[in-house]
């Protein structure tokens, strides 16, 4: 499946149009471990949840898979033609532009600016259609988060990487984002969600991983997990690890 490979030092980045994975990936920030020998597979049409306490390496794995950070060791695959959707803790939206202008700008960069119908539908599904002419700087944090999610999936990505997509969202907004995530998976995108609130995602994820100080300490299919017990154990673990 791999159409192109770049190999620099100890890491390889290759392109794929099938499944996406991190193979034995390590990343250090000085002496501090960000990721240590992490193996992760993201399958088409599946939602993979990565949980962990603060500084567990959740954002680092997202940034590595997005190609923003180069791993010190290991292999990763990315979609062809940069068909990655990325949402990080900050909105990645220009404060002086409106929601619609921001989305049009990114749609232009991805070459999907002609799909106006899709953009309108996306805004409607996130409850942003009435606010599309408002500048980002005047929106609340929750609204910005929703707009940021719309930006992340504007290109109908094959690989969707969402870092804490529900933080700062109220129940209603979180449900709208969840519905969009399910739709993406239904359209055969591979989705990775990171969170430290396992209760919010336990019902709709297909696979769970837990990171602890950069190490992957659990990786299970949802079918093999007793969700109630997993939630209880994870909450206990999270309290203990801050």
């Amino acid at each position: 499946m791999n159409s192109r490979q770049t190999n620099k030092n100890n890491h390889t980045i290759s392109e794929s149009n099938g499944e996406y994975w991190a193979d034995n990936v390590s990343k250090y920030f000085g002496e501090q471990p960000g990721l240590v020998n992490v193996n992760l597979t993201l399958n088409k049409g599946q939602i993979h949840c990565v949980c962990g306490a603060n500084a567990a390496g959740k954002t680092t794995i997202v940034r590595v898979l997005a190609g923003l950070l180069k791993p010190d060791k290991g292999k990763i695959t990315q979609p062809e033609k940069k068909k990655t959707g990325l949402m990080l803790e900050y909105s990645m939206l220009y404060p002086k532009l409106s929601i619609a202008e921001n989305l049009r700008f990114y749609a232009g960069l991805y070459g999907v600016e002609k799909e106006k119908h899709y953009i309108d539908k996306l805004l409607e599904s996130l409850g942003l259609d009435d606010l599309k002419s408002e500048r980002i700087e005047v929106l609340s944090a929750g609204m910005q988060k929703r707009a940021s999610f719309a930006r992340a999936i504007i290109n109908k990505p094959e690989l969707v990487l969402l870092d804490e997509p529900f933080s700062g969202l109220d129940q209603q907004a979180a449900e709208k984002v969840k519905a969009n995530i399910k739709e993406l998976a239904g359209n055969k995108s591979a989705v990775l969600i990171t969170t430290h609130w396992i209760n919010q995602v336990i019902e709709f994820c297909d696979e769970f991983s837990v990171l602890d100080k950069g190490r992957l300490i659990m990786n299970e299919k949802a079918a093999n997990v007793d969700k109630q017990a997993f939630c209880r154990d994870y909450v206990f673990y999270a309290r203990r690890n801050g």
Binding site: R63, K82, M92, Y94, L109, G111
Partner: protein, 227 residues
């Protein structure tokens, strides 16, 4: 090729729109420079070579305007982490570089258009200006300033160093441009320098522009890389 050009223009247009809406950059760049020029005029110093004085004041003004522009270009992309949005989309680093360079260049040209007539009114009593040559010289100087400040502005920001570092590294890099640029503008304003000095300065500036635009094009990818 067409897609590359479209993406570069999109980023440039977005920057111009953001700048126009904030309005801060242009005001911050222009007001202090007018103040400096006015203070020079009312200080009562004896001016024996007004053309050379104007060219020096103009160059210093362009230099500081370049620093402010460079800081703003890098800042606008790092606010809300927008640069990551650009890096994960198909826009290549050279497209981002040329869009940012275009923005800085246009801002410097706008600044030049405003400041040159003010300096001429304040300091030049006799008008012997070679207007076309003057415009051409300012374009060459702005290309040099824009190409260097774009790459250094992002370099400083990505390295996590404070903004003040930009002026510390920008001014030494621009030092070789000072003397030829002053000679060239003095000639264009009808000052004492000969056309031969002007020609040599043009040759130097063209070489400088080509070198730094090429360096920016080739090195911007490394500047944007996060380790």
């Amino acid at each position: 090729m067409k897609a590359k050009f479209f993406r570069t223009i999109s980023i440039l247009y977005k920057d111009l729109l953001c700048e126009l809406r904030s309005g801060q950059g242009i005001a911050v760049m222009i007001l202090p420079e007018i103040l400096i020029a006015g203070l020079f005029r009312i200080s009562g110093i004896t001016i024996t070579e007004p053309e050379r004085l104007v060219s020096c004041v103009l160059l210093v003004n362009l230099l500081f305007a370049g620093i402010l522009g460079g800081e703003r270009t890098a800042l606008s992309e790092h606010e809300n982490g927008c640069i990551n949005g650009l890096l994960v989309c198909p826009a290549k680093s050279e497209e981002i570089y040329f869009a940012k360079f275009g923005f800085n260049f246009l801002l410097l040209c706008l600044f030049g258009i405003i400041i040159v007539p003010i300096l001429a009114i304040l300091f030049l009593t006799e008008s012997n200006i070679h207007l076309l040559e003057l415009l051409f010289s300012i374009l060459l100087i702005n290309i040099a300033l824009g190409s260097v400040v774009t790459i250094l502005g992002f370099l400083v920001y990505r390295s996590g160093a404070g903004n003040s570092l930009l002026s510390v590294i920008f001014i030494p890099v621009m030092l070789p441009v000072f003397i030829p640029a002053v000679n060239l503008i003095t000639y264009c304003l009808g000052g004492g320098d000969t056309i031969d000095t002007g020609n040599k300065a043009v040759q130097f500036l063209v070489c400088f522009d080509i070198i730094f635009l090429t360096l920016g094009w080739l090195l911007f990818d490394f500047v944007l890389e996060e380790n």
